[in-house]
């Protein structure tokens, strides 16, 4: 009976608080939408990587022409045309108005026949990210190797054809395209697909948003403590367990609604704005288990914060900073595989990392209940530990009322 009254009261209070409703529902929905669309623009496979560069060809040989042709054929890289001098183009790159400049020196084709070829010059702007640098460099090297094989080794072609069987040259350069078969293990309806950025990023930002429930929960808790309502409730015989459950249950429901809403945004709203549709995978039970485990962990964590802070301002600042730290360590902001080994080890202790891995199991790896069980167990354990600490803190506060 007291628990029913506490839960009902919480729902009524929330329904009458537009600010809290906005924070709890509108903000995460907008957040997922914006993040999905922003990241889509950066990584989406159909729109290209969007690298712009200047290509200056000072050599008129067939080899340099072949290199220009090869580079022009790469869809993700766009060549900028300009009549400016080389030094002006370098200034443009230095100011990050173009990411790269590639300069083919005079005599490039001729020197290819020699033992010491003339190198092509690649200049990168200061704002170019390391991953982008490596990507461009690799593409340029690949094009150069193809041209080198074609022109530097051309004289060998005749000699080799003399010692091989008739009609078989042994130097079919077009065959190099067939040396690699690339395929993603992500599947939709049993067929291999490259996962969209929405599919890869929504789980991360979903986990991030869910932990922000700590702000409205802890500020409400602080208000009730300051208003003397908790003193009254405790004088009526309510235990710490009643008080914690009275908040845990309604906010658990709210957190699950948030998950549902954010998934709906990924499935329905993101495509309306031109983004790619989120697919939920094939394990609804595993998804439900993960949602429950993460909700429990985030609400219990919120209750612990609520019992650690004294004012609403403290709750807001503490939650913001702690969530950002957890997100940074947990692979929400930087993928875990990009982190140095020490950080990767550290990230194993972030609840956000457990949530993220569990959701990625469902969304990307076709994992079922077995796959997500370890992450779900960790989250439930973390939630129970937070609840126990919150209970201890609440009991201790009785000595300071």
């Amino acid at each position: 009976m007291p628990l029913f009254a506490l839960v009902t009261k919480e729902w009524k209070l929330l329904l009458r608080d537009w600010h809290a409703l906005l924070l709890l529902f509108a903000m995460p929905a907008v957040f997922i939408l914006v993040m999905s669309l922003a990241l889509q623009n950066k990584f989406a496979e159909q729109q290209g990587v969007n690298i712009h560069y200047y290509l200056v060809n000072k050599d008129g040989s067939p080899a340099s022409e072949a290199l220009v042709k090869r580079l022009s054929a790469i869809k993700d890289f766009k060549i900028l045309s300009s009549d400016a001098s080389a030094s002006e183009l370098i200034d443009q790159v230095r100011d990050d108005r173009a990411q790269f400049m590639v300069r083919i020196p005079p005599g490039f084709g001729k020197a290819m026949q020699n033992t010491e070829p003339l190198p092509v010059q690649m200049l990168a702007g200061p704002g170019v990210e390391p991953a982008m640098y490596m990507l461009f460099e690799a593409a340029l090297r690949a094009a150069l190797v193809r041209v080198y094989l074609q022109y530097a080794l051309a004289p060998l072609k005749t000699q080799v054809s003399d010692i091989t069987s008739a009609g078989h040259t042994g130097l079919n350069l077009d065959a190099t395209d067939k040396l690699l078969h690339a395929q993603s293990l992500y599947q939709v309806d049993g067929r291999s697909r490259r996962p969209s950025s929405v599919q890869q990023n929504v789980p991360a930002w979903l986990v991030f948003a869910m932990f922000f429930i700590a702000i409205p929960l802890s500020t409400t808790w602080v208000q009730e403590r300051q208003q003397g309502t908790y003193a009254r409730l405790r004088s009526m015989g309510l235990s710490a367990k009643d008080l914690l459950l009275g908040k845990l249950l309604p906010y658990l429901g709210i957190n699950l609604l948030q998950v549902g809403l954010m998934l709906v945004v990924g499935i329905l709203v993101v495509p309306w704005f031109g983004g790619q549709r989120l697919t939920l995978g094939h394990a609804p039970l595993a998804l439900t288990l993960m949602a429950l485990a993460l909700s429990f962990a985030s609400v219990a964590y919120a209750l612990l914060i609520a019992n650690l802070v004294s004012t609403g301002e403290q709750a807001t600042i503490f939650t913001g900073v702690a969530n950002l730290l957890m997100a940074a360590v947990g692979g929400i902001m930087v993928p875990r595989f990009l982190m140095p080994p020490v950080m990767q080890t550290l990230s194993q202790f972030s609840p956000m990392a457990w949530g993220l891995e569990g959701f990625l199991d469902v969304f990307l790896r076709q994992g079922g209940l077995e796959a997500v069980a370890p992450q779900a167990l960790r989250l439930f354990g973390f939630g129970l530990a937070c609840l126990a600490l919150a209970g201890l803190r609440l009991a201790k506060q009785r000595g300071k009322a």
Partner: protein
Amino acid sequence: MIQIEGLSFRYPGAKHDVIRELSLRIRQGSLFGLLGPNGSGKTTLISILTGLLPLLSGKISIDGKTLPGQLQDIQAGSALVPQEYAFYPRLSIMENLLFFGGVLAIPAYELRGRLTAALAVAGLESFESVRAEHLSGGLKRRLNLAIGLLNRPQLLFLDEPTVGIDPQSRHFILEAVKRINARGTTVVYTTHYMEEAEMLCDEIGVLDDGRLLACGTQEQLLNNTHSRELMVTLTTAPTVQQSGILNTIPGLEIINRELRMAHCTEADLKHLMKLLAAERLDICRLKYGYRNLEELFLQMTGRQLRN
């Protein structure tokens, strides 16, 4: 009956006790006024009695039930009306009462009756659907009181229940408290308003720095001082010669037209009247009698400002 023996309390990390070796009896059915300056330990004492703070040393029994072992039984029969507006502003009066009724696990068949009674005592019948955030200060105080009546307490703790409200609302609350007490509920009432204590309380305890300085009925407290004060204002100031004559009464102070005696017996008064008549000194104003509670309070607790 509340019986407290040798109660001491210190907050964690504090250097001094907030309550020091306090012993007190409050009889059943009494309307007991607990007076004391800020920081004297009133709210701490009430918090211990209601189970909000733990009993660290000393003994407390309430109607034969002891703390901390029988806290639940004690809480079931008592209610606290805190100093703050301890309810939910976004809920209406009725929703607040229903919520606290639910927390108290009042059976459904009794709930309606209890709500009606609480609303009637607090005079809130015509406001039951108004959200608490839209109520005036006086109505908020009355809602605070009404919530405290839901479990029909035998013992009611009221912690400064009339702070910050207009005289009409204060009068209403004081009358309501009198009626509640008249039905047999023991009331422990803390206040800074001495006239409230004078008007309401049959017994009073004065607390300062965690110690009980005095306890008893108003008459006992005022008589214990053995002092009736005299203050006379004359129409004209006495001459030097007349002052010399008046000063033959021990303890009489003369300041311009004012004559004062902190301890004045009836014989002293009669003697002074004769001298004034003989010297043809006319009286403009005269005040004689026991000190009031406020004077007594200030005398006991000192006049220095408190934190």
